[in-house]
């Protein structure tokens, strides 16, 4: 906060900015609730809060911060001018999400006295991750300001890949903690896994590049279709699988499983992940 700001901005403007910020906080809180409620009301998420390996939980939380900063760049609570504003937004959103999780879990009776600090902190931290995503997206989802005011740059190729990763993480986070991911993997034969992988790939391609959704990319005429498929869909699906594997590992779902089961579970979780990645440009 350089002193120059106080010279350039009249006090009235500062108050207006504060009012806008407080409205943004309210929206962020709503976003955290909307996006995290399914997970706040999932037993596995409560249990993972205490039996998850603490180092993996710390890694997950640490990785959330650059993810939020990136999301703030491309969407976020408000149009931001500088990177440090994005960092500020990311930290604010983390606080809001932690608060939303703590309040909701306490009301549900999931957090009570007699629980260890490790259990309480673990439960809140785990819920903070999806909540902060939701809070960050709240502006683009629930924001009232017209699009033209947002001077967000069209994402570059790397930005596009980042958005895919964020979309995949967001959707797979909903499913990865549940027992069903591993159960579905057990039920599927190797052939069914192959089919699911192909279907995911096809859907992903169709979602954004063939169909013309609002916000979806239109392929420039001079770029051949196979180039888009290889550069975006295939690379995107590889990112989706990496995100799926990471989510499964973070939640301890790969521990002690054989290679075949791990691959199969990764493909299963990659299915929602692929949908999330493909729709990231539409959502975020």
């Amino acid at each position: 906060m350089g002193p120059y700001m106080w010279r350039e901005i009249a006090p009235g403007e500062v108050l207006k900015a504060d009012a806008a910020f407080l409205r943004g906080l309210g929206r962020a809180f709503a976003g955290a609730l909307i996006f995290a409620l399914p997970m706040l009301m999932t037993m596995e998420m409560w249990w993972l809060g205490f039996y998850m390996e603490p180092l993996r939980l710390a890694l997950l939380l640490a990785l959330t911060v650059p993810m939020l900063v990136g999301l703030s760049r491309f969407g976020g609570m408000r149009p931001t001018a500088r990177l440090r504003d994005d960092v500020a937004d990311a930290l604010v959103v983390l606080l809001v999400a932690a608060l939303a999780a703590a309040v909701t879990l306490s009301i549900f009776g999931i957090l009570t006295l007699g629980m260890s600090a490790r259990e309480i902190i673990g439960k809140i931290v785990l819920q903070t991750v999806p909540g902060s995503f939701g809070a960050m997206l709240a502006r683009s989802q629930l924001g009232g300001e017209p699009e033209r005011e947002r001077q967000k740059a069209q994402p570059t190729y790397w930005g596009e890949l980042f958005l895919m990763a964020a979309g995949a993480l967001f959707l797979s986070f909903n499913m990865a903690p549940t027992e069903e991911m591993v159960l579905i993997a057990y039920k599927m034969s190797a052939w069914q896994s192959v089919v699911l992988a192909l279907v995911s790939l096809g859907l992903m391609h169709a979602f954004v590049y063939a169909l013309n959704f609002r916000g979806g990319s239109r392929r420039p005429a001079h770029v051949p279709a196979w180039s888009v498929f290889v550069r975006l869909t295939v690379v995107g699906y590889v990112i989706v699988l990496a995100v799926s594997l990471f989510s499964l590992w973070v939640f301890g779902r790969t521990d002690g499983d054989g290679l075949k089961e791990i691959i199969s579970a990764t493909i299963v979780l990659g299915f929602p992940g692929a949908i999330g990645a493909a729709s990231a440009r539409l959502l975020l």
């Binding site: 906060m1 120059y4 806008a20 260890s116």
Partner: protein
């Protein structure tokens, strides 16, 4: 937070300053968020490094015996002093008169996290006050 004047003016030109740059209030809240983030990370890392992988150590203690229409209810508290979570913890209670077993009752606790406690109860048809009551944890699985 230092910023050169040239940079500040450039930023101000590039965007609507009042809405786009971070207000002092937001910085305060961001600082609180950052503090919370660092604290949570530090706690998890310190916990991981300093807590040895000790198996669950379960102690059961009776908190009350009450009469209910379904029989006598023995309420108890299960505390886990170990370093790992016990899943599906099997708990049973026995009423004995000397060497003779009068009655047994079983229940299970879904999860008993490390360094935490859970409460539960066992029903008996005989009055526990007339006999020797003992509670025992039988087994668990790793989550």
């Amino acid at each position: 937070m230092t910023c050169s004047d040239a940079g500040g003016q450039e930023d101000a030109r590039r965007s609507q300053p009042a809405l786009d740059s971070t207000s002092p209030l937001e910085w305060i809240i961001a600082a609180a968020g950052g503090l919370l983030l660092v604290a949570a990370l530090a706690y998890m890392v310190v916990f991981a490094v300093t807590t040895p992988e000790r198996p669950p150590a379960v102690t059961l203690s009776v908190t009350s015996v009450t009469t209910t229409p379904g029989g006598y209810l023995v309420s108890f508290r299960a505390a886990n002093a170990g370093g790992e979570t016990a899943a599906g913890l099997q708990v049973s209670g026995e009423l004995r008169q000397g060497e003779t077993l009068i009655e047994t009752s079983d229940m299970s606790i879904d999860y008993l996290p490390q360094r935490s406690e859970r409460r539960g109860g066992l029903f008996f048809s005989a009055n526990p006050a007339d006999h020797q009551l003992s509670l025992r944890a039988h087994g668990y699985s790793e989550p």
